[in-house]
Amino acid sequence: MSIIDTLRNIYGEKVKATVDKYNEIWIEIPSLLLREVLALLQRNGYDHLSTITGHDDGERIRLIYHLIKFGTKSTEMVNIVTYADRNNPVVPSMINEYPSALVYEREIFDLLGVKFEGHKGLKRLLLPEDVPEDFHPLRKDFKVQE
């Protein structure tokens, strides 16, 4: 049974899934289900987290978890899409399921200001520590000084 069917069986209409031409599966879930779904995927062999992408679309912060399940015959790629509120973006941290999320979550906190609940060492990764607290350059309303 494919992972899309498994998720549909459990969560029904809350899960929206598409497959693109390059065999990438895109699954959209509400952020409340994030920890549950990622833990389920981890148990199903999706043990490689390529990275987490954060993207500000103007209204919400879009987070994409790029996962891979390596197999001897075929490899499955799943992209879990979820949204966080732009004014107060808080999502659960995934460092227990995926230890590599440690640096990726710090990067998104740094550049987009998303807070990851449960991440103990959440501090800036790339920018210096003395920049103002609301300094998040990848947000769309951040203007580069001329």
């Binding site: 550049l111 990764l125 920018l127 350059p137 001329e146």
Partner: protein
């Protein structure tokens, strides 16, 4: 003049700064903390203001050594956004450049790791051989590094018969040298004593920490983007994924040397199989072509491991979001795990083992937990210190590792 502000991803590759804090008890490391971000250039934000074609030359400069992997990965991702397929001959040329890049990157790394453990003879030989590859790359593209060979929908320049003949020559030469180096390294006691059992990363940990590239393959895990998720022409190319069960720095050396032999085989296969055609780029994609609203993911096996690009387009001439994840960032978690329990003298081979930016570690802070004293050592100092320490403690360590 627009001012460029520091925003974007970090690429701790060669000659770029990274800072580690190691916590030690006596000679043993108990914890480590890397600090990155010293050469943050804001490339991701800058890419949002450039056009699709300008970005080819911006993103190539993310890394000097694996410039073609970055540019190729971006071009591949952009092609998925534009929903086009490049001509076959272009894919062959692209793959040829990727494999040549792997050859010269691995040779550079072999020199670096040998320099770290004080075996400078092999360092000189490896870098001498690398020149042959660079000459070939210059012959094909016009430049030694930053070849700019890829464009969206194909490649910039065709390849001639003479170049293919030269490519086969170089591939044969490098394969022969690589086999020679493997023989030396497996026999040479100075190399084995400094690398065997050092930087141990078990198979389970490599999977758990999501290590990539030769680091994960040296822990006996068969993970290679070329084999698992074929791109370019890798689904037709016959090649083996090299793995080794050693889980230590020695295994990482062996994996990279054997990968050079495999790369040489792929280059020869390409030189004989490349289809004859005039077609190397798509005419319908110009710098002023607007893509549809779309998003795509692209992965490439760079010399250091899985390179990841995500691009979103909003239908205009500029991408809406470009996300880059370089292999070194993915391996940072493994470094912290690998150094724990080892000696200070083992830091250089372990850190060099993942092939990060070597000189980026320009400064190491050593904190003695018992004395709570901070001592700052430059990278050169710690290298000399480690060679001297091994000379003095050679016999004890040898007994311990048995």
């Amino acid at each position: 003049m627009s001012v460029r502000i520091p925003i974007g991803p970090i690429h701790p590759m060669l000659k770029e700064p990274i800072n580690f804090v190691f916590y030690v008890e006596g000679e043993t490391i108990v914890d480590a903390e890397p600090n990155i971000g010293f050469v943050h250039r804001g490339i991701e934000k800058l890419a949002e203001t450039k056009t699709w074609f300008q970005n080819l030359y911006l993103l190539e400069k993310v890394c000097g050594i694996c410039s073609s992997s970055h540019q190729g990965c971006y071009a591949q991702c952009a092609e998925r956004i534009f929903e086009v397929e490049p001509p076959e001959r272009a894919l062959y040329i692209r793959t040829l450049m990727w494999e040549l890049e792997r050859l010269h990157s691995h040779l550079l790394w072999l020199g670096v790791i040998m320099h770290e453990i004080g075996f400078d003879t092999l360092f000189m030989y490896a870098w001498r051989d690398r020149e042959k590859v660079l000459d070939l790359v210059e012959m094909i593209s016009g430049r030694r590094v930053g070849y700019s060979i890829n464009i969206i929908g194909g490649v910039r320049r065709d390849i001639s018969y003479d170049m293919l003949v030269k490519a086969v020559e170089v591939a044969n030469f490098i394969a022969e040298r690589a086999e020679h180096y493997e023989k030396i390294i497996l026999k040479e006691e100075t190399v084995i004593n400094r690398t065997q059992g050092v930087g141990y990363l078990s198979k389970a940990d490599a999977i758990r920490l999501n290590a990539v590239g030769p680091t994960v393959r040296a822990s006996g895990v068969k993970r290679d983007v070329r084999g698992n998720m074929p791109y370019g022409i890798y689904d037709e190319t016959p090649f083996d994924i090299v793995i080794d069960d050693g889980c230590d720095v020695l295994a990482r050396i062996i994996v990279r040397i054997r990968e050079m032999v495999v790369s040489a085989e792929i280059i020869k296969w390409i030189a004989f199989q490349i289809p004859k055609s005039e077609d190397i780029k798509l005419k319908k994609i110009t710098p002023f072509t607007k893509p549809p609203e779309n998003e795509a993911v692209s992965r490439v096996e760079a010399p250091r491991g899985e390179l990841f690009y995500y691009i979103k387009s909003n239908g205009s001439l500029n991408p809406e979001r470009v996300k880059i994840r370089t292999p070194t960032l993915a391996n940072i978690a493994s470094i912290i795990h690998m150094v724990k329990g080892h000696y200070i003298a083992d830091i250089p081979p372990i850190v060099a083992g993942i092939d990060p930016c070597m000189s980026c570690m320009d400064r190491v802070i050593i904190v003695d937990v018992n004395k709570e004293k901070k001592k700052v050592m430059t990278y050169d100092e710690i290298r000399r210190y480690s060679i001297k320490w091994y000379k003095n403690n050679y016999k004890v360590i040898k007994e311990e590792r048995r």
